[in-house]
Subunit: 337 residues, 2 copies
Amino acid sequence: MKKSVTMKDVADYVGVSTTTVSHVINETRHVNELTRNKVKSAMKELGYRPNFLARSLRSGETKTIGLLVPDASNPFFAEIARQIEDLGYRQGYSVILGNSDNNPNKQTNYINTLIAKQVDGVILISTGGEADELQPLTENNIPIVLADRDVSLSLTDVVLLDNEKAGYEATRYLLELGHKCIACITGPNELSPSMLRVKGYRKALEEFDIPYQENLIEMGDFRYRSGEAAMEKLLSRSCSPTAVFALNDMMAIGAMKAIMKLGYSIPEDISVLGFDNIQFSSVVKPALTTMAQPLADFSNKTVEMLIKRMSGDAIEDNQRFILSASLVVRESTARKK
Amino acid sequence: MKKSVTMKDVADYVGVSTTTVSHVINETRHVNELTRNKVKSAMKELGYRPNFLARSLRSGETKTIGLLVPDASNPFFAEIARQIEDLGYRQGYSVILGNSDNNPNKQTNYINTLIAKQVDGVILISTGGEADELQPLTENNIPIVLADRDVSLSLTDVVLLDNEKAGYEATRYLLELGHKCIACITGPNELSPSMLRVKGYRKALEEFDIPYQENLIEMGDFRYRSGEAAMEKLLSRSCSPTAVFALNDMMAIGAMKAIMKLGYSIPEDISVLGFDNIQFSSVVKPALTTMAQPLADFSNKTVEMLIKRMSGDAIEDNQRFILSASLVVRESTARKK
DNA sequence: CTGAAAGCGCTTACAG
DNA sequence: CTGAAAGCGCTTACAG
C-alpha cells in the first residue's frame, strides 16, 4: 500500500511552505511566477492529487449534493436524476444518489447518511408527507429543495407541478371529446401528486355536471403491473368506461395492455390518457396521449434553487416554484362515438 | 449559522475524553455502563451527529463508492444503477453516480473527482477501451471493477456477459426458424459488447453457410431513434431481410416502429429479436423476443467483487467473471414462411 | 511576496 | 476501565 503524496511532500520537494502550495493550487493569492512553476511541475512529477476530504473538513464545503428519489429505475425519476446529475456536474458538484423505495424509514436513514457525509445540499423527491422528516436537515443548516412531491408544513423550497390543474385539463380534454364515463387509475392516495390530480379530475367532472363515481376509480402504485390490474378490474364492472385517465404513463401503458387483451381497441372503444410523457409513451402502439411534465424546467429550476441556497444568497424562505403540464395529443384518445 | 455539535462538546458535557465518546459511538472498546449511558443521553440531548468527513480523513475510509455509467436514463443502465445502489446501501456504502455520456474526457474527469473525494472503490461501465484511463485509480490504490464493457489490457476485475456466445445464440435461433436474410443493427463498433455480439452473429451465419453481407448491417448508438433510422435504411435496400437482430432492446423497439410504419407486420413479414430484456420489451406490441441479460447476477457479482477488493482480502488480480444471456421468446419472432 | 501555526472533527496507539 | 495527545491533509488568519 503506497502512501499517497500530500501537499507537504510537494512543499518539501520544492522547498516552500504548504501555504504556498495551497495558494498555487487554489489561486488564492499571488505567488511568484518562478515558485509557482516549480510547484506546478513538482506536483506533476510527484503525481500529487488534492485530497478533497481534507479540504472539505477545513472549508466546510464538500461540493457534493444528495439526491433522494423513490426509485431511479422508474423512467420518470431516472430522467430527472440524469438531468440533475448533469447540471450538478457542470457546477462542480457530485451527486450521491439514493432510492427510498417509498419507504419513509429508508428515506430517514438516507437523510442521516447525507448529513453525516456533510453534503452541501439535498434534492428530495419525498416519500412521506411529514415535515419533521426534514428537520434534521434544516437543523444542520443543509439547504434542501423538494421536487415533485410536496411535504406539508415544510418551510423548504419546492419545485412542483400544478397537479390539480393538470388533472383538470386532462379530464376536461376527455370530456370535450364527448366522454361521460371516464375511469381514473390513481397513484397511492397519500402522495400529493396523485391526490391533487384526482382533485382536478373531480373538478372537471363537476363542471360538466357528471357525477363522480367511486367504481370508476382504481388505485395503482405508479407501476406498469398495477395499471394493468386496475384496468382489468375496471373492465369487469357494469359501468364500463369509454375513457381512462391514468395518473402516470407506466400505468397507462399497463392499462392499454389490459384493454387490448380483453379485445377492445384503443382509441375506438376506449380512449387512454397518461401522465408524464416518458420517452416510451411515444413508442407504444397506439402512441399514448399524455399530460407532459416539463422535465427540463423541473431539473433546471430545482438545481438552480438549490445552488442559490447553497451559495447563501439572502432569499426568503419557502420559495415555491410551480410548473404547468401540457397536453400532448397522440393516438390513444379519440372522440366518443 | 449555528455551529454543529462535535464530539468535544459531548465529551465536555459529560466530563469524559473524546476518546471515550468515540469508543461508545463505535463500540471499539469497553466503556463503563454508567458512563456509556451518560454519553449516549448527552449525544441525544445535544443533538450530536458524527461527522463522517473527519472520520474518513482519519481512517481512510469514506464508505462511498463511485458508479460511472454511460447514461443512467437508459433503462438498462438505470436498472443496473438501481440495483448497485441498493446492494451498496445494504453494505453501508453510499454511491456517487456519474454519467459519462460515452465521452472519454468526461469519464476521465469523473475518475479524477472520485479519486479526490477518496471513494473506497469504483464500478465502471467504461466508455473507452483504453486501460490507461484507469491508471489514476490503480495508482491511488482504489479498487475498481469493470462491468458490462471490457477495457483492453486492464488488470482490474471485470464482470462481463459472454457477448459473443449471446450473439451467436440469438442468431442461431433466427437461423433455426428458417431465416436466411438476417439484418443486424449494431451499437458503436468501438464498444466491446457490440463488436462481440456481431462476432457471434457472423459465427452463426458461417455455421449455416450463409454469407455475411455488409448491406445487412447498420450501426446505431443503442438508442431508440437510431434503431428506427437503421431499420428504415435496411428496408430501403434491395435485399430486404426477413429477420432483424438488434443489439439492444431500445434499438429493437425503434426497428419495430419503422417496420410497422412501412406497412410490414411483425413477426409475419419480419421477425425482430432484441437484446437486454429491459422491462419494456415485454410491454411493446408485439412483445419482443430478446436475449435477456442476467441483471441481478450482474449487479450482485459486481458489488460482491468490489467489496471483496475493498476489504483487501488477498485475491489475485484481474478476476474475470463471465455471465451468460438467455433467450426469452415472445411474440416478435416466428418461423420464416 | 511568503511562512509558521492553528484548527476542521474525528480515531487510535500509547500509557496508566 | 479511561485519557492526553498525535495526526489524517488540507485552508487561512496572522504576521512579516
